[in-house]
């Protein structure tokens, strides 16, 4: 009890210190006075009494000091004084403070910005889930395949099996991983929404509640009795339906069926997947009515369900994984034809799905390394600057040391100053990273239905300030240690600045290091940017300028085949009538988008060499597609309308397929069996191969056929700006059929921004980092050379007096700067070439040791170095020898 009281009194003693000091002084003064009076009353004269009293009293100053020590935690109060002094010093040297804070804020801020994305994608759990740490994702994994394509969602029968048999989970939910574009018929007017199919237990397993109404139950999700019910997303309800609680029980016409609204999800819940925010949810058993793909609930071949389960009490990932593997084995034995070599794997629950986390981590990891290097450069600058300042404070340190400050105390003083700097830089960095990360978000092409939230998360704040702290310690340690190595007597004796220019080897080393890191960064950045420029100019095999596209699904309204065809024909007629339209056609999906259809093709005459034929990608097109897309026909002809109407067995192949099957021969007229078809198809045309899956790939064999599905992409070639056409296309769709709406209406350019997105962002960030590094290095070099000049003023004066010309002086100064630069360049580019192998996987069309890049980087840095040295050199030249010699 006593101890606690003493402690709290000591804490209280931190405040009102000056008042307490004064009071104690008064108390001692009074005591002294009383003693004096006593002596006076004993007969001494006032003066003798006073000195006798003082003698008896003893050391008043010591008493005061002891009392101060007893009053409070001296450490804290002197620390506070250090902080105040440090702040004053920073304010006094405003210029260098701003420079250091700016450099550090940029470095720390960019790192924090990258971390913001890392946090949003990998670390922060999805909103609305109860205890997300208990959830595990279940992925199907094929032992026969490698890499990311070996992971797949589950089939419905497999999901049901796990759901019903897995004891280690208290519940397993499943949802359709592809929120579909659904047409909402709002009083005769078609509008496109995104909806997601989820299992009946999804909301309860996830622990997500509803704002109004109720959520799904397993009873709502019976495949033999599907219930057309929907739950709306909270923001959608607020924005599109006015937040009206009376909508419960009302109906919504979605893709031709009436659904009853049974509830609205809790605010903030945006779904089961990162960055996708579907407008509504309905049950899995409604899948046939909603997306018109019959058989998904029974097929063991369609992998479409993403699944997550909540671990039961007392279960660990290991025990759950063991059970899942066992169950997977059971399925494999029971269904050897469909589930051969299928395992199931558990991942912990995070916004980015399990198998993709590796890629995301690697990508963001690389970006963080790059910006960490920029931060290193900024730190080196700061350290240099502080060392220079510290050497100017040698006298101050000497005086402090003479007054009794130990070395530790001096170091503490300097460390406090640097930590203050780092703290200010950290605050600036938080603002910078917030602003930059939102800027980067705007780069995401709008065609992606992605929405990522980036609020100011505590994790980002902790990260930023941790980095700032480490930065402060790192760049503060050396100046502190050096600046406090004092010889008090020596420094106070010398009136002069310093006898000569002490070439600081450490500063030189730091500068060389800075240039080396900068060169390394610049080299890598230039390589990547050039690679991206190459990639950007790849010809994907079709026109990327003058085309507008739109996705339509007449089948989503439940039309008959005949009605579907009528709609598309009519639309085509309308589109061709628009001004500026040269041609239009349909395709089942665009090249370079995420869809793919594959089959195998067998030429009976080649059964000896190719018994199983070759795998090919399939595109389904209408006549006029090649002309519209600007794909050259190099042999034979395009399809004709009659072949489309009669569903003739004709195909067009690309040059890659022709080369694979019939090298050197004319493929026109050849007969092949496509997939499971009984009849043969005849090759009637050959087109030039382009890119179909990703840019810069090796040519893939592709065939084109005329059997069209109900979901088609309209492609329109226009002689004018395609962007101007978009509204007109949408309007024509509405005119032809008011119930229909087109989705993803965009120009081909904005469609192409999706495959290019990752590459473009990387290029942008790398380019920014390179420029940042260059600017920081330039500033650093400038500072160091300027300081060298000012230190050598006397020496320059002597040289000039002894007959050195202006040119000699300039050469002297430039030599120093260029020496540092060339050594740094050699080291930096050497390191870059050595590590170039790491980059070669990312580069397109450029070798990792590309000589042109070496030349560019060297020339660039040399130019920067010359610029940095030039101004200080000119200043050196203007030195008046007479003045310099007198300069102290």
């Amino acid at each position: 009890m006593g101890r606690l009281r003493v402690f709290s009194e000591r804490m209280k003693g931190l405040f009102a210190q000056s008042r307490a000091n004064r009071e104690f002084e008064d108390e001692l003064e009074e005591h002294l006075q009383l003693l004096t009076d006593r002596f006076v009353s004993q007969g001494l004269s006032p003066r003798e009494a006073a000195s006798a009293a003082r003698r008896q009293f003893g050391n008043g100053a010591l008493l005061q000091q002891r009392q101060r020590e007893a009053r409070t935690f001296l450490f804290l109060s002197s620390l506070w004084r250090d902080v105040c002094f440090g702040a004053r010093m920073l304010r006094k040297h405003r210029g260098s403070t701003v420079a250091v804070v700016l450099a550090l804020a940029l470095g720390i801020g960019m790192n924090a910005c990258i971390f913001t994305f890392v946090n949003a994608l990998l670390l922060r759990p999805l909103a609305g889930f109860k205890a997300p740490g208990e959830m595990r994702e279940v992925w199907e994994h094929s032992r026969n395949a490698n890499g990311i394509h070996s992971f797949m969602p589950l089939t419905y029968p497999d999901y049901v099996f796990f759901r019903d048999h897995a004891r280690s989970f208290s519940g397993i939910l499943g949802y359709d991983g592809d929120p579909e574009g659904i047409i909402w018929n709002r009083s005769g007017h078609g509008e496109v929404l995104h909806g997601q199919l989820v299992s009946g237990n999804a909301f309860s397993v996830a622990g997500v509640g509803v704002a109004i109404g109720r959520s799904f139950t397993p009873a709502d999700d019976q495949p033999n009795n599907p219930q057309p019910l929907v739950i709306l997303r909270n923001n959608f309800w607020k924005q599109k339906l006015g937040g009206d609680p009376g909508i419960l029980g009302k109906a919504m016409m979605l893709n031709g069926t009436n659904y009853t609204i049974i509830g609205v999800a809790q605010p903030g819940f945006t779904g089961f997947q990162v960055a996708m925010a579907p407008d509504f949810w309905t049950t899995l058993s409604m899948e046939e009515q909603l997306i018109h793909d019959p058989g998904r609930l029974t097929s063991r071949n369609t992998n479409w369900l993403l699944t997550e389960g909540r671990l039961a009490a007392g279960q660990s990932t290991k025990s759950a994984q063991a059970e899942i593997s066992l169950l997977a084995r059971e399925i494999e034995l029971a269904h050897p034809d469909t589930n051969k070599a299928m395992d199931d794997v558990l991942y912990s629950f995070a916004p980015v799905p399990g198998p993709f986390r590796g890629y995301v981590t690697a990508f963001t990891g690389m970006l963080m390394v790059v910006f960490a290097l920029v931060l290193v450069i900024a730190c080196a600058n700061a350290a240099s600057l502080l060392m220079v300042k510290a050497s100017g404070r040698a006298r101050e340190m000497a005086v402090r040391s003479a007054l009794g400050a130990g070395r530790g105390r001096l170091i503490r003083q300097m460390t406090v100053e640097t930590l203050l700097l780092a703290l200010i830089a950290g605050c600036a960095a938080v603002l910078l990273s917030y602003w930059t990360s939102h800027l980067l978000l705007n780069l995401i092409p709008t065609s992606l239905p992605i929405s990522i939230e980036l609020p100011l998360d505590w994790r980002v704040l902790v990260f930023t300030f941790l980095v700032a702290l480490i930065t402060g310690v790192v760049f503060g340690v050396t100046p502190a240690l050096r600046g406090t190595r004092v010889d008090p007597a020596g420094v106070i004796k010398t009136e002069a600045h310093s006898g000569g220019y002490r070439k600081s080897r450490l500063r030189t080393v730091i500068m060389i290091g800075e240039i080396a890191v900068c060169a390394l960064l610049l080299f890598s950045a230039t390589l990547c940017v050039r690679s991206l420029l190459n990639a950007g100019s790849i010809d994907p095999g079709f026109d990327t300028q003058n085309i507008a596209v739109a996705t339509l699904d007449a089948g989503s309204l439940g039309y008959s085949d005949a009605k579907i065809e009528t709609f598309y024909r009519e639309l085509d007629r309308h589109i061709r009538a628009l001004p500026g339209v040269v041609s239009s056609s349909y395709v089942n999906h665009l090249p370079l988008d995420a869809s793919r259809e594959q089959t195998s093709v067998i030429d009976e005459s080649l059964v000896a060499t190719l018994p199983h034929g070759i795998p090919v990608d399939v595109f389904r097109v209408e006549p006029g597609y090649f002309k519209t897309m600007g794909i050259s026909i190099v042999g034979g002809r395009d399809f004709v309308q009659s072949e489309l109407d009669r569903k003739s067995k004709v195909i067009v192949v690309n040059t890659a397929m022709a080369a694979r099957l019939w090298p050197g021969q004319n493929p026109i007229g050849k007969l092949v069996k496509v997939g499971d078809a009984k009849e043969q198809s005849e090759v009637i045309g050959v087109v030039k191969a382009g890119n179909y899956r990703s840019l810069g790939e090796d040519p893939i064999p592709v065939l084109f056929r005329v059997e069209m599905p109900s979901l088609r992409v309209l492609v329109v070639h226009t002689s004018k700006d395609p962007g101007a056409l978009l509204d007109a296309v949408q309007r024509q769709v509405q005119i032809v059929d008011p119930n229909m709406a087109a989705t993803q209406v965009q120009t081909i350019g904005s469609f192409m921004s999706l495959p290019m997105f990752a590459a473009r962002t990387t290029g942008l960030l790398l380019g920014a980092s390179g420029i940042l590094a260059l600017v920081l290095t330039w500033i650093g070099l400038f500072g160091v050379i300027s300081f060298a000049v000012s230190e050598r003023t006397r020496e320059i004066g002597v040289r000039m007096a002894l007959g050195a010309g202006r040119g000699d002086v300039m050469r002297l100064i430039m030599r120093q700067g260029l020496y540092v630069t060339s050594v740094g360049l050699v080291i930096g580019i050497g390191a870059a070439l050595a590590s170039a192998r790491l980059l070669s996987a990312l580069l397109y069309g450029i070798r990792p040791d590309d000589p042109a890049t070496v030349v560019i980087v060297s020339a660039g840095m040399a130019a920067v170095a010359v610029l940095a040295c030039h101004i200080p050199a000119r200043r050196a030249v203007r030195v008046n020898p007479v003045v310099a010699l007198r300069y102290e």
Partner: protein, 118 residues
């Protein structure tokens, strides 16, 4: 306060000094110098406390809550800080006095032992 008397100062342990101060203050509020004087008086001039030990002890006791302070007027009509005993201090004084007396009795018994009783 002659030099010889100072040499014969009985070395006081810190805890004992606290006890003496508490006792001095228990007889009425005193300022620092007054505490010194009163202890001197009560010890019939045998005990002179140094200022250097007095003030730290006063401060310690105040921090521990055994004595409280307030500003008042000294004999010379000047501002002085007066210390007085708190309730906690009163209890502590009683307890410590009891302990001291018991200890003194025990030690006295040991010291009075004659060779036969050993």
């Amino acid at each position: 306060m002659t030099p010889e008397k100072q040499d014969e100062q009985i070395d006081l342990l810190q805890g004992t000094l606290d006890l003496l101060i508490l006792k001095a203050v228990s007889l009425g509020p005193l300022h620092g110098y007054g505490v010194l004087l009163r202890i001197q008086q009560l010890s019939r001039e045998e005990l002179v406390i140094q200022q250097g030990s007095l003030y730290p002890a006063l401060y310690r006791l105040e921090h521990q809550g055994a004595i409280g302070s307030e500003w008042g007027e000294s004999e010379n009509n000047r501002r002085a800080k007066y210390y007085k005993l708190t309730r906690f201090g009163r209890e502590r004084l009683a307890g410590e006095t009891q302990k001291w007396n018991r200890m003194a009795g025990i030690i006295g018994d040991i010291l009075r032992a004659t060779p036969e009783e050993a």
